[in-house]
Amino acid sequence: MGFLSKLFGQPGNNRAKVRTAISSDINITDAISAHVNWKARLENYLNGNSAEELDPMVICRDDQCLLGKWIHGPALTYLNDDDGFYRLRKNHANFHFVAGNVVKKMQENDKAAAYALLNSEYERVSSEIVNDLRDLEQQLADA
């Protein structure tokens, strides 16, 4: 089921209100970019071309990035009954877990495992969360 599906049974002005609220609380396009960009950040890290100090424990948390703060904050007010929202939340947590693990493998000097994770599991969880966000972005645009 897609986002805002429960709201489609309601009067149009309520839907519009929720869309406005979401758009003012978070920039979904920015959230998509931030999560797409992780691939390059991780690749740079694996290739030794990164100046970033990445902490797998911090990356693992799903409530620290801008999207995560929204998911665990304002989003609950209007999406708490939306199946799509729960899927997005799960996919977002999985994404951070796998991204954290890529860094962890690297820090354990297991570059091969880090690459393997990046090219398999990471690809999958990344496309899941990005697809969810694009779906949400689309529905916000379909006023």
């Binding site: 797998p56 424990m57 693992c60 948390r61 799903d62 409530d63 665990h72 904050g73 609950l76 007010t77 708490n80 009954d81 729960y86 939340r89 799960k90 947590a93 877990f97 954290g100 693990n101 962890k104």
Partner: protein, 138 residues
């Protein structure tokens, strides 16, 4: 929080529903027991293979599964619930870091974290769970 909190002021029927979803007493025990598990790990007396990346997740334990599922639907507007979710996430993060310090052979760092930040955040989570367990004695 307090007066406006649904979390700590649930009705009897809601309380029955919650009891069907989760055993709060067991969740308390599970989180209290972490202290012992971590201390054993630090002391080299643990048989457990602890993975900081798994511990770090706040949606894998029984309490986390409840909080991220049915409890969110019920308490999403509740400030106390949001605090509990955040404290619980922080608990798992700090517990994971204790294990990570040990894995990096920093026993002193692990012990300091367990005595400091861990104790604080563990206390917060457990006190909230105790209140949730006894909603009428708030």
């Amino acid at each position: 929080m307090g007066i406006l909190s649904n979390l700590f002021g649930v009705s009897d029927s809601e309380n029955a529903d919650i009891n069907d979803e989760i055993n709060i007493a067991e969740a308390i025990t599970a989180h209290v027991t972490w202290k012992v598990r971590l201390q054993k790990y630090i002391d080299g007396k643990s048989d457990e293979k602890l993975d900081p990346m798994i511990i770090c997740r706040d949606d894998q334990c029984t309490l986390g599964q409840w909080m991220h599922g049915p409890a969110t639907q019920r308490f999403h507007a509740d400030e106390a619930f949001r605090t509990l979710r955040s404290d619980h996430a922080h608990f798992h993060y700090v517990a994971a870091n204790v294990v990570r310090y040990m894995d990096e052979r920093d026993q002193a760092g692990a012990q300091a974290l367990l005595k400091g930040e861990y104790s604080k955040v563990s206390h917060n989570v457990i006190m909230m769970l105790l209140k949730l367990h006894q909603p009428n004695s708030k």
